[in-house]
């Protein structure tokens, strides 16, 4: 049976402090629950937990529900909420932080594989220094979305014809220096 009541004992009382301690989370304690974020969010109607509710859930210590929520993965980084928030909470940056936390703690919701897209993007850029769109789309869709991929064939053919889809990835010239920067940055991730 679905549990709709959050018992006090199941609250993670440290979760709010944990989010507030993030560099982007400094103003999270000032959330008024006014709902401006949800009102401006272009994908809010599709979300089980629109952004206002996510902040209420953070405050309520609903760690598993927040990190397992689809909300951060549906955020398109349009920054509507960020510029409108009367409490000046950096909402888009917090959504990024929730994505990173959710990946690291293996909490990504089952009905989303958007994190795979982001990881593949990061892998390709970390390796070559530049994006290769075909590699990204193929790797992302080949196994998990084969039907969608097949449906993309006409677009793919058109893009080959126009010379905008390239097989060979572009690379940076100073690969050695680039690799060292990537390795160092990864080792310094907070």
């Amino acid at each position: 049976m679905k549990q709709n009541i959050l018992y006090e004992g199941r609250q993670d009382t440290g979760f709010l402090d944990e989010i507030a301690a993030l560099p982007e989370g400094e103003r999270v304690l000032s959330c008024l629950q006014c709902g401006t974020c949800s009102a401006t969010c272009p994908v809010a109607p599709l979300l089980e937990h629109p952004p206002r509710r996510i902040f209420a859930m953070i405050r309520a210590g609903m760690r598993n529900e927040v990190l397992g929520s689809l909300t951060p993965w549906m955020c398109s980084s349009c920054y509507e909420c960020t510029v409108r928030c009367p409490a000046q909470i950096k909402i888009t940056e917090i959504m990024y932080a929730l994505k990173r936390k959710s990946i690291r703690e293996n909490m990504v919701p089952r009905d989303s594989d958007t994190h795979r897209f982001y990881k593949l993007f990061t892998d390709i850029v970390s390796k070559y220094g530049r994006m290769n769109e075909m590699m990204l789309i193929l790797r992302y869709m080949m196994f998990n979305h084969p039907i969608d991929l097949a449906a993309q064939m006409p677009v793919g053919i058109r893009m080959f014809a126009t010379g905008t889809m390239q097989i060979q990835p572009h690379k940076v010239k100073n690969q050695d220096s680039f690799n060292k920067i990537v390795q160092k940055a990864v080792s310094l991730e907070e």
Binding site: T92, K99, R100, V125, H170, N174, K184, E189
Partner: protein, 294 residues
């Protein structure tokens, strides 16, 4: 810019050379990480963006980017370095591992802001009026300025967030009409087009429909991904076929056409929608006053 946005890149090169603005492709640039890398690793995202800032710094040149997401991420990295906190140290340490230093002095500008404020509408107007072939004039056409998200939010300090005007200034300089529409700063869905196709298509279609309600002939975009998404939403979609198709140009493709640069040089044949140049020529013929050329 070398991949899906080759058309945009070609038009930037063509337009800047015609305007007499010396544009150098930045030596050994790398990807800014966009909205993806920061969702996985923040320090890496900022170091990738800062690498470009560090490479540009010794040249003393301003860094102009045609992509809003690059502009945003480079600005974010610039702010982080200038704030001088813990993140700044990590960025500098990462760069140092690759033998680079960055002192926070690189100026980053988006191409629309640069064209509107540095080049200026008057200069563009002069180039449009001086051109040899009047055949490509966009005067009389209604053009919808689509800004999307990341030029205006969250960092723009030169534009009003919900009513930016830089693209309007450029459209008016060409003698074209501005088609004002409500969704000009709405989101095209960004990467959701790849990860949640139905949501992405829906968001892009709403924008296209809104530009049609404003009786726009052409949509002009200042972002490679917006341009791609607005084209993908139309490709193979009967709602937007034939007469209902609405050409989506990049800002420099639009300027270039009005300045008499050939569609080929502007990379128009690289559009996802086939025959964009021809569609626009037909529109021009329909709109042209009957007395011209008589």
């Amino acid at each position: 810019m070398k991949g899906t946005s080759r058309g945009y890149e070609e038009s930037v090169t063509a337009v800047f050379s015609r305007l007499g603005v010396a544009l150098e492709e930045m030596e050994d640039w790398s990807c800014c990480g966009s909205t993806s890398v920061i969702a996985v690793n923040k320090v890496l995202a900022m170091a990738l963006a800062a690498r470009n800032l560090a490479l540009a710094e010794p040249t003393g040149l301003q860094l102009v980017t045609p992509c809003p997401s690059c502009w945003l991420e480079l600005t974010k990295a610039n702010n982080a370095v200038r704030d001088g906190g813990k993140l700044a140290e990590k960025i500098k340490e990462s760069l140092a591992a690759g033998g680079l230093t960055y002192n926070g002095t690189t100026v980053v500008r988006h191409i629309v802001e640069f064209l509107a404020n540095e080049v200026g509408a008057e200069t563009i107007k002069a180039h449009v009026n001086n051109q040899k072939y009047v055949g490509n004039s966009l005067s009389g056409l209604r053009i919808a300025p689509y800004y999307g998200c990341q030029i205006v939010r969250p960092y723009s300090d030169t534009e009003e967030i919900y009513n930016p005007q830089n693209m309007e200034k450029l459209i008016e300089a060409l003698g074209a009409e501005v088609a004002q529409f409500d969704l000009k700063t709405a989101c095209c869905s960004g990467a959701l087009m790849a990860t949640r196709k139905n949501v992405g298509l829906d968001m892009s279609k709403q924008i296209l429909k809104n530009t049609k309600e404003a009786k726009a002939d052409i949509v002009v975009s200042a972002c490679p991904l917006c341009q791609l998404n607005l084209e993908l939403a139309q490709f193979g979609n009967s709602e937007f076929s034939g007469k209902n198709e609405i050409p989506v140009l990049s800002i420099t493709q639009m300027l270039g056409l009005a300045m008499g640069i050939s569609p080929r040089e502007l990379g128009l044949s690289r559009s996802i929608l086939p025959g964009v140049a021809k569609t626009i020529t037909n529109m021009q013929k329909q709109k042209a006053p009957a007395t011209i050329g008589g």
